[in-house]
Each structure stands twice: as C-alpha cells, then as structure tokens.
C-alpha cells in the first residue's frame, strides 16, 4: 500500500489526460469486437461514443483502462479509471466509504479519505447522506456516489460506461447537469459511452459513432459548442442540430 501515493483529485498533469489509440483490434475467438480503431483524445476533452449494441463500446473503454489487452495496435493513455454501467456500490460500506474506496486503496488514511469523500458528496448534493447505507439511496443517488468514487480515484481519464442508462428521464437530465458542473470545475478527459444521442449532444465535445460489429469509428463529429457549467440545454437549437447529425450518422450505420 505504501508504494502508491494518493493522487490529488483536481490536478492531473496535462499529458496524462491524453489518449492515443492506433490500429486497435480486439477479437474474442472468431468475433471481431473492434477493428483498426485509431483515435486521439486531447486532455480534458469529453468524447461521447455511440453505436449499436454489441459494437465494442465497452471493450473500447476496457482497452483504454488497461483491463484488456488489444490483439493488435497500441493504447497510449495515462491512468484511466472505469465506471461500469451498474454502480457496483459495496453494500457493507456506507455512501462515504464507498466514495472513499479509491483513496483507501491508494493508502490514504481513513479520516482523510472520509473527509475528502464527504466534501465531494456534499458537492454532488448528497450532504446528509454520507452515512446512508447503499440500500437507503435512490438510483440517482447511488450513481452520484459511483461518480464520486470514480473522481476520487484521481485518474486524469474517466471511462464512463452508460453511467445514466438505468435512470429515468428526469433523474438522468439531473445527473447530466451535475456531471457537467463537476467537469466544469475539475476538468478531466472523459470517454462516455451512451446509447442516448441527446446525452452525447448535451455533454460532449465530440461524438464518435461506431459501426456494428466489427466496431469501427465511422463518424467523428465535432460538437463545436462551448461547454456550459450545468450542461447544454437540450432544447437549444444548436444542440438539437448536433443530436440530429449524430442520429443521422447512427441511422446510417444501422441501415
């Protein structure tokens, strides 16, 4: 434990936030999940990945996080941490200790880790819930705790796998707002897998569209809109236009 040092939450060194993928191919037996994926993500860029189910989106994230090794090509990225679709909170820990888990794993003393987790949970609107057991939290609250856990890992790159996919529409819109706010205050490189093109248009700087298996990047749309502190307004005509472009590209690959 002493070999790792608790990384600061906010400052990640610039170049560490960069992701470079070259000629990336991943096979599972006969199935080619990803084929020849090349991608460069600048530090602090938020990139949404959309595509039909089974097109290798989750595989892409796991490759970036180093949880899988590619069959061909290279992954060159700083420390990336995965936030799986399900929150995977540990029921034996309360909200604060769940959020503090990466700090404890990095050897940060208990009191210090808890204080930092508490502060971040409060920032995410969970003040007063820090000692709540996981089963006492709503789906939206659990997702906040999971995001806090991901942020406290201190990794410069966050790989979010459909983080709000299981939430209802209102809770999801709310989640997009606080995620935007937290990324506004402490920018990170984000790779966001989503099945919701609106979510992509609201949160991302770029939208990548993947083809059905074998997954390839078939469109790389620059959103070209400034990021808003609370997320872009989904009814903003420019956001609607981005959404329409992404949807069109997605329809193109599905056909």
């Amino acid at each position: 434990m002493a070999t790792r040092v608790g990384a600061p939450v906010v400052e990640a060194r610039e170049q560490e936030g960069e992701v470079r993928l070259q000629g990336l191919t991943r096979r599972f037996g006969e199935v080619v999940a990803l084929q020849d994926v090349a991608l460069r993500i600048a530090p602090r860029e938020v990139v949404a990945v959309v595509g039909p189910s089974g097109c290798g989106k989750s595989t892409l994230l796991e490759l970036v996080c180093g949880l899988q090794a590619p069959d061909a090509g290279t992954v060159d990225a700083g420390r990336a941490v995965l936030m799986p679709q399900r929150d995977l909170l540990l029921p034996w820990l309360d909200a604060r200790d769940n959020a503090a888990l990466p700090l404890r794993l990095a050897g940060v003393p208990k009191a210090d880790a808890r204080a930092r987790a508490h502060a971040l949970l409060a920032e995410l609107g969970l003040d007063g819930f820090e000692a709540a057991r996981t089963w006492e939290l709503s789906g939206g609250m659990r997702q906040r705790v999971a995001v806090a856990r991901t942020l406290l890992s201190g990794a410069p790159i966050l790989c979010l796998d459909e983080p709000f996919g299981a939430l209802d529409a209102i809770t999801r819109a709310d989640a997009q707002t606080w995620l935007s706010a937290i990324l506004h205050r402490t920018p990170r490189t984000v790779l966001l897998v989503t099945h919701d093109v609106e979510e992509a248009a609201v949160l991302a700087d770029r939208v990548l569209v993947l083809s059905p298996r074998p997954g390839r990047i078939v469109a790389d749309l620059a959103v070209g809109l400034p990021r808003a502190a609370t997320g872009r307004d989904p009814t903003d005509p420019r956001v609607v236009a981005v959404r329409a472009r992404a949807l069109e590209a997605l329809r193109g690959v599905m056909a």
Partner: protein
C-alpha cells in the same frame, strides 16, 4: 408465535397419550414428568450442559476458522479446488461419529477429541457456503477493483472477505444443529461428563424422564447457538438481509 402453538399441541398430545395409554413411565414419560426432572435435576443438567456447550461452541469456532481458511485457499487456487473439493465431498460419506472411539483412543477422554469430532462435522457446511459466498462476487466488481488499482490482498479485504462473512455464518447456522449431535456421540465414545454422557447413563438406570430432560436441554442449546449466530449475522452483516439491486 405459531411455533409455540405447535409445540403446545404436540406436548398436549404427548401428555394425553402417556397418561391415557397404559405406558410405563420409563418407556415414555409424560411431559410433566420431564419438566419435573428438568427442575429436580437442574444442578446436574446445568453442570453437564456447561461441558457440552463448551464442546459445541469451541468445536464450531474451530470449524469456522479452519473452514473459512480452507474455503479461501480453495477459492484462491483453482487447481487446489479441483483436486481437493471432490475429495472433501467424499469425506462427508464417512460417518464421522463412528470414528469417535478412534479419536478417544488417540486423544484420550478430555475435551480435545470432542472438539475434533464437532469441528469435523461442522466443517463441511461452512466450507461449502463460504466458497459459494466467495465465488458469488460479481465479476464486474473485480473489474472495478482492478480498474481502481486494487491489489489481490486489497480485493480480499474490501470485497471478498465481507462477501464471505454472511455466507460463513450461514454455514455455521446449518452446522450448529448437527454440532450438538456430534458432541453427544463424541461423549458416548468416552467421557465422564456432558449431556451425552448423562443421556447414556440415565437410560440403563431407567431414569427416562432425566434422559428426556437432557434431550430438552440439548435442543435448547442448539436453539440458543442458532439464535446467537443469527444475531451475529444481523449485527456483522446487516446488508445480507437487505434487498440491494446490486449486491
């Protein structure tokens, strides 16, 4: 409280049968005679209960420690699991109580052979449930921990050990019921005290009511141990009784 009603009905039926039928007291004493013996022999029963309770509790503790350790080793090392697990299941076909005299010959008439018998009997359900608990950890959870940079030991401390705890206690709850029986057989094989010893002594002396009183105390001991384990489970692993969408 339905359980209390069932017990009352059964006791009533037994009382009526023993009284109205012409059955000798030493063949089947009526519940009130057993109750009388419970009171009259309370000193004797209490002294012997302490001996048997010690055997059951220490034997169970031994089984928990050894069972959890073995489950951990089997979980950690796949080849070991494949090599040893079938053998372990096979050993359960050995009626362990029949080797009790052998253990008495090896370890004498003291506490040790009883502990070994109780632990051997209690060991298996604990290994099985603990192993299941360890294996039931969501693979996604392992992925998450790896992504956060957790070492093997850290994964054990934060995820696997807490997941295995309620499972091991469940195994202990199953084991404690047979643990009492194991202690009685161990005492049969050679001892100077304990409820099993008292039982063995009372029957040839035609003190049937006392034998039944000893059985009643044994049952009470099993219920107490079970309740204590259930309480421990609730205290130590409150999450195990919660419906948690992700656990």
């Amino acid at each position: 409280m339905l359980a209390a009603l069932v017990v009352l009905v059964l006791l009533g039926g037994w009382e009526a049968y023993a009284r109205l039928g012409s059955i000798d007291d030493f063949i089947l004493p009526a519940p009130d005679q057993v109750a009388a013996s419970l009171w009259d022999d309370r000193g004797l029963l209490w002294d012997n209960l302490l001996v048997t309770a010690q055997e059951v509790v220490l034997g169970l503790a031994l089984a928990l420690a050894a069972g959890a350790l073995l489950a951990l080793a089997l979980h950690r090392f796949g080849p070991l699991r494949r090599a040893v697990y079938p053998l372990l299941v096979g050993t359960q076909a050995i009626p362990i109580v029949t080797i009790a005299p052998l253990l008495a010959a090896w370890f004498g008439y003291g506490l040790l052979p009883k502990l070994v018998i109780v632990a051997l009997v209690c060991f298996f359900p604990i290994v099985v449930t603990t192993l299941d608990g360890l294996a039931a950890v969501d693979p996604e959870q392992h992925k998450l921990l790896r992504s956060l940079g957790a070492s093997r030991a850290q994964t054990f401390r934060w995820v696997e050990a807490p997941a295995a705890l309620p499972a091991a206690l469940s195994g202990a709850k199953i084991a404690v019921a047979v643990g009492g029986i194991a202690a009685v057989f161990a005492e049969y094989a050679g001892s100077e005290k304990g409820l099993g010893h008292l039982l063995l002594q009372s029957i040839p002396q035609l003190e049937t009511a006392r034998a039944w009183a000893a059985v009643t105390v044994l049952a009470a001991l099993a219920i107490c141990c079970f309740a204590l384990l259930a309480l421990a489970e609730r205290r130590l692993a409150p999450w195990a009784h919660r419906k948690d969408p992700d656990a």
